[in-house]
Assembly symmetry: C2
Homo-oligomer: 337 residues x 2
Amino acid sequence: MKNINIKELALKLKLSVSTVSKSLNDSYEISEETKRRVLETAELLNYVPNPYASSLRGRKSKNIGVVIPEVADSFFSLAINGIESVAKQKGYHVLICLTHESFENEQTILKEFQGGRVDGVLLSVSRETTQCSHINDLIENGLPLIFFDRACDDVETAKITTDDFESGYKATAHLIAQKCNEIAFLSISDSLSISNKRLEGYLQALGDNKIKVNSKHIILCTNEAEQNYLLIKKLLQQKNRPDAILASVEKLTTPVYMACEALALNVPKDIKVVCFSNLETAAILNPSLTTITQPAFEMGKAAASLLFKALENSNFSIVKEDVIIPSILVVRRSTGH
Amino acid sequence: MKNINIKELALKLKLSVSTVSKSLNDSYEISEETKRRVLETAELLNYVPNPYASSLRGRKSKNIGVVIPEVADSFFSLAINGIESVAKQKGYHVLICLTHESFENEQTILKEFQGGRVDGVLLSVSRETTQCSHINDLIENGLPLIFFDRACDDVETAKITTDDFESGYKATAHLIAQKCNEIAFLSISDSLSISNKRLEGYLQALGDNKIKVNSKHIILCTNEAEQNYLLIKKLLQQKNRPDAILASVEKLTTPVYMACEALALNVPKDIKVVCFSNLETAAILNPSLTTITQPAFEMGKAAASLLFKALENSNFSIVKEDVIIPSILVVRRSTGH
DNA sequence: TTTATTTACGAAACCGTTTTCGCGATTCTT
DNA sequence: AAGAATCGCGAAAACGGTTTCGTAAATAAA
């Protein structure tokens, strides 16, 4: 059925546009009888309001922007579910924008947001992001922005993260407890806070256990699976081959397993593996994978909830704070004996 | 830096709003000199056009809607990447809407689209969807809509799918070739075309090989992982236990593996497994999983490309056609000996 | 030189809502 | 019963762009 606009609806009802609008928005100015008539006819004639007209007039879009590096990643897709669950309940839409780990894309997306496309932003920065002027620009412009998972330290806003340092520490300590002392660390960025904090936790755990750091065992991976595979293979062919790998992001899981298989290294006998990962399949991998599992859904939910608090109370402003939701170490066979 | 609107920009430039607008849109009416000045100042003053104002006036949103059941699924997240890759190139945004496999949600979302939020729709229907009036309503209203993966037969539009029947056949034939003759089929919907076509391929393969169908081996799964796990476990505890499982969707992988493990059934010795799946981790599962891998990225790309053809040529209309991009059977250890 | 055409720009309408304000009619005060 | 307050509704402005149309000046054609 053809849908109509408010003017045509008003015409059919022999009412003014304003009365119809107010009825639809349940204004106190309008009698119950009229409201009922309007709602009824609106339904009948398939009236669906144009969101852009409302947004333009109301200067709010009822959209929130979610800027993430990738969608093909368990952490982010679970986080999206968390975000969406609260957005839906608040009557908001979620605009998902992918940076594909590119700083330039991130800049472009945030710049566009300044046009008013969204009322607030949830951001997980790209691996390339080292400076934050584009983010500060947005905030200066009055857009509430909250980081989740991957944050920038020098932006005055809230961050919903997990306990990256502790997780890195916990994972490393677990490996040490399993008699590993040549533990490699796979990073994906030398600027990303999560990557660095996890690394610091790793270093601290090594230090606390009097294990000396081998810089050749700290690998900065790339954004290309194939290249990472080669890097990891090279790592495992060093003369002082590591006896454990701690991979700081989920996407490194497959290349790690592949490299081990290619080199006929048995996990966990020859080498133990822990990944930061939310893969549902972790439990059924060969061998099942010990993971640091992040509270992805909860983080998304927490970030969105905080954002909506700011959107709904104009006198509530987001302060610089760290909300930390702990990850858990799930021990499986990849770190067994 | 505070961003401004076109009026303020015009004021600074001592030009009219119309001249500024035309300059920004590279109109032939404006001199090169003026255009240059406008662009320069716009950049300088951080002018970002309000997309809602443009949408309202131009009666097009530069958005396409992508309606899918879930995002935490390799097929859909890869498809999103394919869709996004072409949308980005065309200067469009992608509005991802999740039905969570609920028909009611799907209806609500499509109804909202009638308000003009999007210029076109890419749809993969929910598992509950059995009738299509909400889809036909949308099309009648002039919105181009294309199915991908999960389609409705009785809607007059294009469908980008994979060769579900052949894939079901191929997978089953492969299992038969591995000496299986009690092959179970796990479905997720008795109405979804993909599910049914895969089932038909399965049935045809059984028939062609003179294997009689055991209706107790055809299981309709649910949307709950836990429940599916129990269903599968029950299946595997029947007196005539199947010697193979063909799972028609990716999300069944984990419950299948878990159930086998719980019952101490060795894959592939006791039971062979094939899943329709785009899991990157298929190769490193225990044992590595034989999959029917769908061309997810390509399907997304094809669907989006076709949609844009319709959006860009007003005299090109989408006809009822089936674009079929074949899946491939990737044989791994879960169907070995 | 006169007229026709082109060039470069501005005024104003328009897109579909929401909201402010005004006003007649009804109900409430006293 | 007269004035005040309330109720129910409509006219019109506003949101920030784009587009149509008009027009003065510059250039081309006659």
